[in-house]
């Protein structure tokens, strides 16, 4: 089988490099933007996903999950009385500036919860355990904080506002948005640091083994002033809040759009100029009996080859750039398989649209040109 598309494409290496460069740039930009977005979101909801609480109670005044409204922490006590509840924990969260004694200042994301309740927090603990947080004014700090704080040991103290807390352990890979390291503490410690005694942002509920969670949620809905949600609800609403309530989603969307448009323009120009330059040859093909579709197939095959090669190289490039970005900034980067499939679809769509202009040119070739000397 003679592939005119492949032969033409690889015959003109400059044009091939141009076309591939365009798709490569588009895929790297789209992949990086989407990877950054998903990486950021993964960090944003990691606490929710890592938690083993089946039910979350939040204030009815909570409009979005970027700034949940506080409510009285006595609700946790009421919840513990509800049949089917094995444990209930307050959840206090806030970014807060911390100082290593004599060292640098750096923001941490303080998470306060009840260490008596099995919630799966903190996760990936390298040194110490949640039980160590039962002591007042203690924290388990993520190791990524040591980049700013310098070499801290268990037993060292750090300042958080006007309070001093003792580091009783270290976690690994527990960073919130923007690479901010987590500092896990008991709810009482977090309230003391944040001066938010008597208030909580959520109550996390662990159901009794074998309890019907739906029925439990119904019973919990009798608690006044709160909304009862599943873990999945909290995950979805958090993602939604970050996507639509912050510039992150729009910025990533803009980068994806720019990548798509740049790719579309470069591939379109590459295919179109390649077609214009070979107008006579396509005319000859039609003159000797090729149908319009035979020639369209050549253009489409060129677009497909460009797409697949450019996509493969672009994905590798995006992953490489993303890994570099994550290691330099400590921020999240993740490209799920579905996103890779979506990007492939975007690249194929881009090339398909780009090919339309070249196909239009092919359709209007004046066959009489084959007789011109």
């Amino acid at each position: 089988m003679v592939s005119v598309a492949r032969k033409n494409l690889f015959h003109d290496k400059t044009r091939l490099a141009m076309g591939l460069g365009g798709i490569l740039f588009a895929v790297v930009l789209m992949g990086f933007a989407v990877g950054m977005l998903f990486g950021t979101f993964r960090y944003a909801v990691e606490l929710v996903d890592r938690s083993t609480a089946q039910v979350w109670l939040v204030s009815q005044k909570t409009r979005d999950f970027l700034s949940p409204a506080p409510f009285p922490d006595e609700v946790a006590g009421q919840v513990r009385q509800v049949p089917g509840v094995a444990g209930a924990s307050k959840l206090i969260m806030a970014s807060y500036s911390a100082n290593a004694t004599g060292g640098q200042s750096s923001p941490v994301y303080l998470v306060g919860f009840d260490p008596e309740v099995e919630l799966g927090l903190p996760w990936d603990v390298a040194t110490g355990s949640a039980a160590d947080l039962r002591r007042d004014m203690t924290v388990i700090l993520d190791r990524s904080a040591l980049r700013e704080f310098g070499p801290l040991q268990v037993g060292d103290k750090i300042e958080m506002g006007d309070q001093v807390v003792e580091v009783v352990g270290f976690s690994r890979n527990a960073a919130w948005m923007l690479g901010m390291p987590y500092a896990f503490a008991s709810a009482q410690t977090a309230q003391a640091v944040l001066h938010s005694e008597g208030q909580t942002l959520a109550v996390l509920v662990q159901a009794e083994h074998g309890a019907d969670v739906a029925m439990l949620m119904e019973r919990l809905s009798a608690v006044e002033g709160v909304e009862v949600l599943t873990q999945q609800d909290v995950h979805d609403r958090s993602m939604d809040a970050w996507l639509t309530g912050t510039p992150v989603g729009y910025m990533s969307g803009a980068m994806v759009l720019i990548g798509f448009l740049v790719g579309l323009t470069v591939v379109g120009l590459t295919l179109y100029t390649a077609t214009v330059e070979r107008t006579r040859e396509y005319g000859v093909m039609k003159a000797i009996g090729a149908s319009n579709w035979d020639v369209y197939r050549v253009v489409l095959e060129q677009a497909a080859i460009l797409s697949m090669l450019g996509y493969g190289m672009g994905v590798l490039g995006a992953l490489g750039v993303g890994r570099l970005y994550a290691s330099l900034t400590g921020m999240g980067f993740a490209v799920p398989i579905l996103v890779l499939a979506g990007m492939l679809l975007a690249v194929l769509t881009m090339s398909g649209i780009a090919a339309l202009f070249a196909m239009r040119k092919v359709a209007t070739i004046d066959l009489a040109l084959v007789f011109k000397a």
């Binding site: 000797i288 149908s291 009489a368 011109k372």
Partner: protein, 232 residues
């Protein structure tokens, strides 16, 4: 009439309208018989290429009718004309018109592929056709590496790919030296005499007049017929 391959009756071709109207071919009628070699001669702008384009089913006439192997082709839609060209017509062009990125054998195999012969069978037939025109040792060369005469022989091999009954040649010897021009003319003669293919050639080249059964003169789109008997 049974051996008439191509028949034009009162064929006219106009371009443009109103004051910009140009009558390129004016009321031409002619027949081409099986195995016949017909030369169309005339000055530049006389309508030779337009007439050849209509004979080759590349252009439709504005008026009149064209029959190819008994089928009227003058009013067929483009898709059907492409089928007619694929099956029944071979083209040999002045500037060869080989695809520059394809090797010699691939250029011929592409024509076979368009005609429906693919894969190994297509490659084998392409190589046989090229061997028949004396290019068996240049199969993998690119057109850019060939001489003018070699390119024209590839072009002839490609024209024969789908075993056409009609060969259309547009100045096939114009870009060749005497020796290669003679060789191409001899090949076309063999195709007509030995294989029974009809050959229509538009040319200015008086060197190949001796191969023609008939020479037609076209002046201002009109035919001035000067019959000439083939000598042998």
């Amino acid at each position: 009439m049974e051996d008439v391959v191509l028949w034009l009756r009162n064929v006219t071709k106009e371009y443009g309208t109103g004051r910009a109207r140009v009558l390129a071919v004016d009321d031409v009628s002619l027949e081409v018989r099986q195995g016949e070699i017909v030369l169309v001669m005339g000055p530049s702008g006389s309508g030779k290429t337009t007439l050849l384009s209509m004979m080759g089913c590349i252009l439709r006439p504005t008026d009149g009718n064209i029959w190819l192997r008994g089928t009227e082709v003058s009013a067929l839609p483009e898709g059907a004309l492409a089928h007619v060209r694929r099956r029944h017509i071979g083209f040999v062009f002045q500037s060869f018109n080989l695809l520059s990125s394809l090797s010699v054998w691939e250029n011929v195999a592409l024509a076979l592929q368009i005609g429906g012969t693919r894969g190994e069978a297509g490659a084998r037939q392409a190589k046989e056709l090229l061997e028949a025109v004396g290019l068996g040792d240049r199969l993998d060369s690119l057109p850019a590496d060939l001489s003018g005469g070699e390119k024209q022989r590839v072009s002839i091999a490609r024209a024969l790919a789908n075993s056409p009954s009609l060969l259309i040649g547009d100045e096939p010897t114009a870009n060749l030296d005497s020796e290669n021009g003679r060789r191409v003319a001899d090949m076309l003669t063999t195709l007509a005499r030995d294989q029974g293919r009809s050959v229509v050639i538009a040319t200015h080249d008086a060197r190949i007049m001796d191969v023609a059964d008939r020479v037609l003169y076209l002046v201002d789109g009109r035919l001035a017929k000067k019959p000439r008997v083939h000598q042998g």
